[in-house]
């Protein structure tokens, strides 16, 4: 419905609409890749590579098999 409404709101003949839709999709992807995702990536739980005393939270559920 949302997408149908956007499609209907696009002006011009079919070719122009397809072009506009593609530009819109690319714009959304660009905003995500260049702005949004780099900002939310640090909140993800799979990007830590260091040993660190402050990693206690992550370690609490770890099975320690090394000693």
């Amino acid at each position: 419905m949302l997408y149908a409404a956007i499609w209907r709101a696009l002006p011009g003949p079919l070719a122009v609409r397809i072009l506009l839709a593609a530009v819109l999709v690319l714009a959304v992807v660009a905003v995500c890749f260049l702005w949004l995702f780099p900002r939310i990536a640090p909140l993800m739980p799979f990007n830590d590579n260091t040993v660190d005393p402050s990693a206690a939270r992550a370690a609490s559920y770890v099975h320690q098999d090394h000693r």
């Binding site: 990536a41 640090p42 590579n49 040993v51 770890v62 320690q64």
Partner: protein, 229 residues
């Protein structure tokens, strides 16, 4: 009835959008961060190579103190033949998130390359160029070469451990013996484990074989890819 259908339609569209955005995020994290980080890291290696070549080789001590390097600055190139004949990654000072996106990070306060103590570094196992993606393929005796402005420090892999993220004793001056006075020259590499998780750390320990002044160069064959790699 009509309003209900309309609401349902909007909710459905939003769910589809959320699904697409999540897929897009996975694509960004697993693919695009590699693309951009590899580009950055390759450029840094080229810059370092040029800088190293321009600097006249000093004749003084060959092991550098880490405190001389400002946070976030690239100061060495790490080569690991087991991970590929052309494997060369920049080493930067510090292990913050930003630093690790630009290369391998040197733990603040640990020994410098070639020095007595523990030269400790961290790198991404996955994403952001994933310099330590294949860290689990390293075998005993595999060579790790750390090239700085003044010297090549050649380390040989000794063993590995899988530890909890809080197990900082792996980067102690004497690995796994916090408080002990170091007499040997170790290198510790840490990366997340298992792949695509950060629940544990994969840790590889290597010991210095020899440090060669830049002027002398590396002995031929040091960077030969080991058999079966």
């Amino acid at each position: 009835m009509k309003a209900a259908r309309w609401t349902l339609g909007i909710v459905g569209d939003l769910l589809v959008t959320a699904g697409l955005l999540l897929l897009l995020f996975v694509g960004w994290q697993l693919w695009w961060t590699d693309v951009t980080a590899n580009r950055t890291q390759d450029a840094t290696v080229s810059t370092l190579t040029r800088d190293f070549a321009e600097t006249p080789a000093p004749t003084g001590p060959t092991s550098e103190q880490p405190k001389a390097v400002p946070f976030g600055k690239a100061f060495a190139i790490v080569r690991i033949p087991r991970l590929g004949a052309d494997y060369a990654r920049p080493l930067l000072q510090g292990t913050s998130r930003d630093v690790l996106e630009d290369g391998i990070g040197h733990y603040d306060g640990t020994a410098g390359p070639g020095a007595i103590g523990n030269f400790a570094v961290a790198g991404h196992r996955t994403t952001y160029g994933r310099p330590f993606h294949d860290i689990d393929k390293l075998r005993t005796g595999d060579v790790v070469v750390v090239e700085t402005k003044t010297a090549y420090s050649v380390y040989a892999v000794k063993r590995h451990e899988i530890v909890a993220p809080t197990d900082v004793q792996v980067i102690a001056p004497v690995p796994d013996k916090p408080g002990a006075k170091p007499t040997e020259r170790w290198m510790t590499m840490t990366a997340c484990h298992p792949k695509y998780s950060a629940a544990q750390r994969y840790v590889v320990f290597a010991e210095l074989v020899k440090t060669y002044p830049r002027a002398d160069g590396l002995p031929a064959g040091t960077l030969a890819v080991p058999k079966g790699a």
